[in-house]
Symmetry: C2
Subunit: 217 residues, 2 copies
């Protein structure tokens, strides 16, 4: 059975595939940034920092391509909404890349020391793991438009919020003896991972809305 597909549909699929590629770039950045942070690995931190521009450029190219499609194809209704949503997903993903970049910069700033005290290594390892899982799942949501999986990203985000609370709880324990500077670092890191996960949720919710016409609760 031959499938009749429009040029426009092919163009939309190309945009989706580019967003999936961008998701993979962002996931790799966050994975490496977390590893650089936990192992005080300067070379890896530098690699993430240098690579951020590529993520920005890639998003920029997706943007230009999407605007070009809108101009040429003059889509209306759901097709136009899908393209506008693609612009927004690109901007969420680019921001996630920035946050991975921030994590890497903090790893570099504290090198050769490790920014993470031993009692928080496990929690930060888990934040990194959840961040990467969330991003990979988000990539699958974009490519498969699986709405159940889109909702799962929200649950993973709850796990990130828990981990974030664990970090803050450690900092305010009376026995915290790593000083204020370290507490500032960890406050910022907690915020970076939390915001990163929020953007992944935002991408998944946008897909959910495109498919169902409803907001994910």
């Amino acid at each position: 059975m031959a499938l009749i597909r429009s040029v426009f549909q092919d163009e939309l699929d190309n945009v989706s595939q580019s967003l999936v590629d961008l998701t993979e770039m962002v996931s790799t950045a966050m994975s490496k940034a977390t590893s650089a942070l936990l192992n005080s690995d300067l070379k890896l931190a530098e690699e993430v920092i240098a690579n951020d521009e590529k993520i920005d450029d890639y998003q920029h190219d997706i943007d230009s391509h999407v605007i070009d499609i809108i101009a040429r194809q003059q889509p209306v209704a759901s097709d136009l909404r899908a393209l506008v949503t693609a612009l927004r997903m690109g901007s969420d993903l680019e921001r996630m890349g920035d946050l991975a970049h921030h994590v890497a910069k903090l790893a570099r700033l504290r090198h050769p020391e490790c920014a993470i005290p031993s009692e928080l290594i496990e929690t930060v390892t888990n934040m990194g793991r959840v961040a990467v899982e969330l991003t990979n799942k988000t990539g699958m949501v974009i490519s498969t438009r699986n709405t159940e999986m889109a909702l799962e990203v929200g649950l993973d985000d709850d796990e990130m919020d828990d981990l974030h609370r664990q970090v803050i709880a450690k900092l305010i324990e009376p026995k915290w003896d790593h000083g204020i500077e370290s507490a500032i670092d960890l406050t910022l890191l907690g915020r970076y991972y939390e915001r990163y996960a929020d953007h992944a949720v935002s991408v998944s919710r946008r897909v959910y809305f495109l498919v169902t016409g409803k907001y994910a609760s």
Copy 2:
């Protein structure tokens, strides 16, 4: 002399005016949030928190309106770019509203205590002042498309970055005696004001690009 204006141009102007209105809502939110924070004013904090939904709804309406214009008018080239940019400016402004909301929530969380120790009252007062000035200037940039003023917003942001550095410097002084929890609060607050200003710069740079076709350096 009669000016011939297209319906489309009128629609674009309406969108600009809505963005200016949104800027004013955001500026008021940040002004009140800062005041609630400095004076530990619970009622004012609650007002900002309750009002955030109105800002979100207003941005949502601008978004729907812009997408409707694209669908009906099928603009190309610079007209399409102006509309896509309006979507992005709306999203920056909505995020600024969120950050004002975060400031207000922190004021409420610490009430009846004041989250700001006396030696940082002046710096935080200045951060609030710069935030509001930046936002008002951003509103003028949107309505007048004045590119010199767009560049000035970047300079105001440098002032915000300086104030942010002053906050962190105070926290890591050996004589800091307000504990870790207060240091966490101020680290987050510093980040909220800094990100808020970044989004204002982003809006102004978008206008600069629309008018000149070049990126502001």
